[in-house]
């Protein structure tokens, strides 16, 4: 029963800088590319406990692929990845502007995080299922999901595949391995595990990949999903997209002052990989490693994708209110599009002319899709039949819905 010297005090984490301060990432230790070892994916967890504290990087500052995690991808694959990422960025920029013009109610960009969905969408199979966050339209871009369907969903118009029922960007695309999004963060992390367990239960060969933002790791859902994944050895890859911000809260509010997000794997006896989330090649290699583990009945892997949310949280947000101006530019791991482009150029498989041509092509594709969507109508100008409001509550509407539909005269 000792007493205190000094008195207790409550610690409230604060970020290294706020508006008006010089942005800095000096508090982070970023190891050089190629320095983290690559154990075999069949290694026991006890032999992997250093990995969560490293940072798997393949692309070095000169755009060369180095070290044991180099996935040695063909130039075609690299170009396909670049295309999906660039398309995502082009689409985001255009749709974000359309929100400013009042054509929809809401939008969220993936700026700076395009590598994640694009790359993992390519690594995983057509029958696998992603349980994405709202910052992963790049998953769909890599699988050539029709742009106009995205636009129609965003406009909640008569052609909206989700029948006007859902907030813009909260897509669902089963055929593309993309589980239904919802506004609640985190609450689908456990469904990814359940889906993977179902595949194992059936003796199928599909695996699942689940995503959660670093801020959202604080939800009980995170822990519950990892517990089930570990106990039942579910064939699932669970990813923490650590973009360092949760709206206005820096990652210290989610625990980043004390350890890494990858280290949370240790609580469940699972491998935890910490990966440069702006490095297409590193993501590829880590995902492949985890997928192989899952497919060979070795269970789940937790992957932290260390990145930076280059834009605002959403159209409702203004990041200049809470973080130093120019922070994105200072982010030491750079921009994922630029880095993959640089790598392709370094390989001699890409050049500025081709890049400009690709950009022009994608800009045109987005323009055309938007035009097509606008022809159907923007939010408030066109919508599905109001009957759709009463459909899909249950498989068959009950008397309440039928009566209420009648009350509305439809």
């Amino acid at each position: 029963m000792m007493s205190n010297t000094p008195k207790l005090q409550l610690h409230i984490p604060t970020p290294p800088g706020r508006p008006g301060d010089e942005p800095t990432f000096d508090h982070l230790e970023i190891p050089p590319a190629g320095t983290v070892r690559r154990p075999d994916m069949s290694a026991p967890e006890a032999d992997l406990r250093d990995l969560p504290y490293g940072l798997i990087r393949v692309l070095d500052d000169a755009g060369r692929a180095v070290g044991p995690w180099n996935p040695n991808l063909s130039a075609d694959r690299l170009r396909a990845g670049l295309r999906a990422m660039l398309l995502t960025r082009t689409f985001d920029e255009r749709l974000f502007r359309l929100h400013r013009q009042g054509k929809t109610s809401f939008y969220m960009k993936s700026e700076g995080e395009e590598a994640i969905g694009a790359c993992q969408s390519m690594v995983l199979g057509r029958d696998d299922m992603a349980f994405p966050t709202y910052r992963m339209v790049s998953w769909l871009m890599a699988r050539d999901y029709p742009l106009v369907d995205l636009v129609n969903q965003i406009f909640s118009n008569a052609q909206d595949p989700l029948k006007g029922r859902q907030l813009p960007i909260l897509y669902s695309a089963r055929q593309y391995g993309f589980y239904s999004l919802s506004g609640n963060v985190g609450s689908r992390f456990g469904a990814a595990v359940g889906w993977a367990m179902a595949s194992a239960f059936k003796g199928d060969d599909k695996i699942a990949i689940g995503y959660i933002g670093e801020g959202t790791t604080a939800e009980g859902d995170f822990h519950e999903a990892l517990t089930f994944a570990s106990v039942y050895r579910a064939p699932v890859i669970l990813c923490v997209t650590n973009n360092q911000w949760a709206i206005s809260s820096f990652s210290g509010i989610a625990g980043a002052e004390t350890t890494t997000f990858a280290a949370k794997a240790l609580a469940y006896g699972l491998p935890g990989l910490r990966v440069d989330g702006n490095d297409f090649l590193a993501i590829w290699a880590a995902t492949e490693w985890a997928a192989e583990r899952a497919r060979s009945n070795r269970g789940a892997t937790l992957i932290e994708l260390f990145t930076y949310r280059a834009g605002g949280h959403s159209t409702s947000d203004d990041p200049s209110k809470y973080r130093p101006a120019g922070e994105a530019a200072k982010w030491p791991l750079g921009d994922p599009v630029e880095r993959l482009k640089q790598h392709l150029v370094a390989l001699g498989e890409w050049d500025e002319t081709r890049h400009q041509a690709l950009q022009a092509e994608l800009t045109e594709a987005v323009r055309a899709a938007v035009k097509e969507g606008e022809a159907v109508g923007c939010l408030g100008k066109s919508k599905p039949s109001v009957r759709e409001m009463f459909e899909g509550v249950f498989k068959e509407p009950d008397w309440r819905l039928i009566e209420q539909r009648r009350e509305l005269g439809i």
Binding site: S172, G190, G194, D398
Partner: protein, 337 residues
């Protein structure tokens, strides 16, 4: 036909479904080797194998989240929450995911899950082994809620719930697991054998969700109840001497509004009986619906007999529990009003 108590009937429903549909599976706390703290899943793991009926971590949210993912995959999971009181940590999963998945994804994904939970009081379980939370499910668009009152219905409704493509909350009145209980706690315990509803076919049959049962025909007042309260209602009606019509709702969503309205239009009077605390309980919805649809037929105010607006109190179980006496008094009041 064999005689079963409610536990055996539920067990039989699960056994039938595990046998007939390879996409069904059961998990929950202690349901595997042990067969559940109320033994509803007894023997199922042994018979159907480890992966068809297994223990889950103590994490109601995780249990339901996992079931939703399995349901989206194409399975038909049945999960047990050990007590309805402990369903609350899973409430967000039930409301924000299970109930809304079909709607928001335009039917691409849906959650054909069944969430079983022993429910209600009368067993001296104190605050957290006695509650009746049906109202917090009834209000949620996209959820169905079922509450059986006898073994026959329990089995038929459970099979219907499992086969249903929407998420179903299946609340099992634990006080009547082993025998009907009419609220007269000072009398000898009854068993199910020989009671109505205790003859239960071995194989598959369903009792459709959304169809109430007319338990007793009567001319003067309609009593609406579900679960254990169906038995309390019978005792209360007998005690009152009133010629009451008794409706057992069996499911509160979907609700058999037709049967209710037809009865109240005939009798002109209504008493609603439930165990849950009164304020904001499901009785309020029933009262409002009936008043809206039968206003000109009503001869006296619709009454609600329900748990008091207190937490479930251990020592005062029988003071809290809405028993036949309180119902009888309400029936007489209603008739004399």
């Amino acid at each position: 036909m064999p005689t079963m108590n409610m536990i055996q009937a539920l067990n039989s429903a699960l056994d039938v479904m595990l046998t007939e549909d390879p996409d069904t599976l059961i998990f929950g706390e202690d349901v595997g080797y042990f067969g559940g703290v109320f033994r509803v899943t007894e023997g199922l793991q042994r018979k159907h194998g480890l992966t068809r009926c297994f223990d889950a971590p103590i994490s109601e949210g995780g249990i339901v989240a996992t079931a939703i993912g399995m349901g989206a995959y194409g399975l038909r999971p049945i999960v047990e929450i050990q007590f309805a009181d402990y369903i609350l940590p899973a409430y967000d999963q039930l409301v924000s995911e299970a109930a809304r998945l079909r709607y928001r994804s335009n039917g691409e994904f849906f959650a054909p899950i069944t969430v079983r939970a022993p429910y209600g009081g009368g067993i001296f379980g104190g605050q957290t082994h006695s509650q009746s939370p049906e109202a917090i499910f009834a209000h949620i668009t996209g959820l169905k809620t079922v509450i059986p009152s006898n073994p026959y219905d329990a089995k038929g409704l459970l099979i219907a719930a499992i086969e249903d493509d929407d998420p179903v909350i299946f609340l099992e009145p634990k006080r009547i697991y082993n025998g009907p209980f009419d609220g007269r706690y000072d009398q000898l315990l009854k068993v199910w054998a020989g009671e109505p509803g205790a003859e239960v076919p071995e194989g598959r049959y369903t009792v459709p969700l959304g169809k109430a049962a007319l338990v007793r025909k009567g001319a003067d007042v309609t009593v609406i109840a579900y679960g254990t309260m169906v038995h309390v209602a019978q005792a209360g009606i007998a005690e009152s001497g009133v010629d009451a019509e008794l409706i057992d709702l069996r499911s509160i969503v979907p609700l058999d509004i037709e049967t209710i309205v037809a009865s109240v239009r005939k009798t002109g009077r209504c008493v609603i009986l439930h165990e849950a605390s009164r304020f904001g309980g499901f009785g309020g919805e029933l009262s409002a619906l009936i008043q809206e649809r039968c206003f000109y037929h009503l001869k006296s105010p619709i009454e609600r007999v329900a748990g008091w607006d207190t937490p479930y109190p251990h020592a005062f179980e029988w003071d809290y529990f809405p028993g036949p006496k309180r119902l009888a008094a309400a029936l007489i009041r209603t008739l004399e009003a």
